[in-house]
Symmetry: C2
DNA sequence: TTAGTTTTATGAATTTGTTTCATGCTTGGT
DNA sequence: ACCAAGCATGAAACAAATTCATAAAACTAA
């Protein structure tokens, strides 16, 4: 038995128009086509859908059952088509984000907050748990944007620069290293280093400083929340290296100092990796704009 | 844009099977056919429904939206097909009843009560308001059964006898006519006659007695409820003519007497008019059986 | 009833859409 | 780089829907 949408539309039209001929006009086909179609449908389902004893064709009990289904389904169908239209014009879409750098949540939330005001129809989400293989997930369309600091060349994926930041050393004002103008790798040898609970390959302090210099801190303690890291640092329980915007944002702890890594400081650049297909979508462009603007406001001391 | 059920089935199958080739097996068509179909659908809606970068075809965001619709709609569709199957085998159906004789509600309710226990899936209803042109409504499939006492010859309609009953005269035990063994038309000339509020052509006392004899009662008062009619009669506010089973059923008023109309009494027969199409349906047969049995139980003094 | 009008049904031809067959192309793994 | 698995594509075959022309009912109004 193969009822199709065409049939639902037909049933509804015949009911609305109150007859085959008028319904045919409504559907822009001939009365003959409709007659054939109704006959075919009735043969299929093996049930009389219409009462023939009366001049204008009328629904039978079974026909009314079918009509009820049509009235329920057709609007859903139309909603879907509307959704697809919006998808095409970029009014709506999915924006699932994977974040490789742990601290990035600090600026990402304000960005998304702002974004959702402008694009309420876009399905925004941050996908945790796949921070490891984020770029493959991007290719497979499991996510739609990856925040990364290591651009690669991948077919169909573009890396858009967002903003530069500086990983800075953070310590209590009472800490001996607070005396120095800047810190170097060797300075960490006797320290308790507090980091996010992620692999060293994703921590600037290791990739930019300690690993190249082959320096191992006295101990490493992993802490999830930025605010807690700063709390511990302020109470002189350890030292940390954090992006500059993080430190500036959470300025209500004034008991710590910040120092550049090495004499010249270290500068890194964050990128948004997106699929080329999505590059033209207006909401994507808007998100990238916000992701450039808002973190800079934070860096300047939001 | 013409999404069809076929497409919904396809989407679901591809998702279930996790790929085009396997889904093709599931749907009993070739992989090629599916590929063409998917392509056609994507052209139609103008949106990529699948991610092609991965070997086993996978749903894109838009595809998932479509899948969600499919998961919602396909079960409804299957429920419909189940309904139609039941309709065909007569497990379910519609049984809307029009009643020409007003008093018939008295026995019809118990019948339907019993019927619903056996056929919970059948859509039972009593359609009021069309008691006038009930037989045309039966032909137009607006109702499925008409209770009538006047069989006619109509193409496609059958009259099945239900049971015989006797319209009897009812009066207070104090009423002078209570003295008589039976009443005749002339006896009504000075009486207040209480009837149901329907046309005289549908009242036995007129069709069987007064109209042929050209006798007009002193006055006629119309009362809706049988119980109220009996109350008025019992308190000697008028006389009435009611079917025997009504009087027997409502026996808790013992202040009235019943007498035959004319020396021999009058016997009438009730019929159920149904469409020939419905005659073979098992639930219809069952209803007719009940409609023969239960009123007789009432007549014997249920 | 009959003629006239409206509405639905039907058969054959046509157009449109779907499926298959055969084969080529990509992707992912070794 | 090669192989296997999975998807895409074009042409031909097949199936289905639609149209055209016309018949058959059903209703209306003399």
């Amino acid at each position: 038995m193969h009822i199709e949408f065409r049939h639902l539309r037909t049933i509804r039209a015949i009911h609305q128009a109150g007859g085959l001929a008028r319904a045919a006009d409504l559907l822009n086909i001939t009365q003959s086509a409709l007659s054939h179609q109704v006959k075919g449908l009735e043969d299929q389902v093996g049930v009389e859908l219409f009462v023939r004893r009366s001049k204008p064709l009328k629904l039978s009990a079974a026909g009314q059952r079918l009509l009820a289904l049509a009235e329920r389904i057709i609007p859903e169908m139309e909603a879907l088509e509307e959704d697809f239209r919006n998808l095409k014009t970029g009014k709506t879409g999915r924006l699932h984000i994977a974040v490789e750098c742990h601290a990035c949540f600090e600026w990402l939330f304000p960005v998304l907050e702002e974004f959702r005001k402008a694009w309420p129809e876009v399905d925004v989400d941050i996908r945790p748990g796949l921070a490891f293989g984020a770029l493959p997930a991007l290719e497979r369309e499991e996510v739609d944007l990856v925040v990364s600091s290591d651009p690669e060349t991948i077919r169909g994926v573009e890396f858009r620069p967002l903003f530069d930041y500086e990983p800075v050393f953070v310590a209590s004002a009472q800490h001996p290293l607070a005396e120095k103008k800047f810190v170097v790798a060797e300075d960490f040898r006797d320290e308790l280093l507090i980091t996010y609970p992620v692999d060293r390959s994703r921590l600037d302090v290791f990739t930019e400083l300690l690993t190249p210099a082959k320096v191992e801190p006295r101990a490493v303690r992993q802490v999830e929340l930025t605010a807690v890291i700063l709390l511990l640092v302020a109470s002189n329980r350890g030292v940390a290296v954090l992006p500059d915007w993080v430190v500036r944002e959470v300025r209500y702890h004034s008991d710590y100092v910040t120092r550049p890594l090495t004499e010249d400081g270290v500068t890194k650049r964050l990128y948004a990796a997106i699929r080329s297909d999505d590059a033209a979508k207006p909401f994507m462009a808007h998100l990238l704009k916000l992701a450039r603007k808002i973190p800079v406001q934070l860096q300047r001391g939001g």
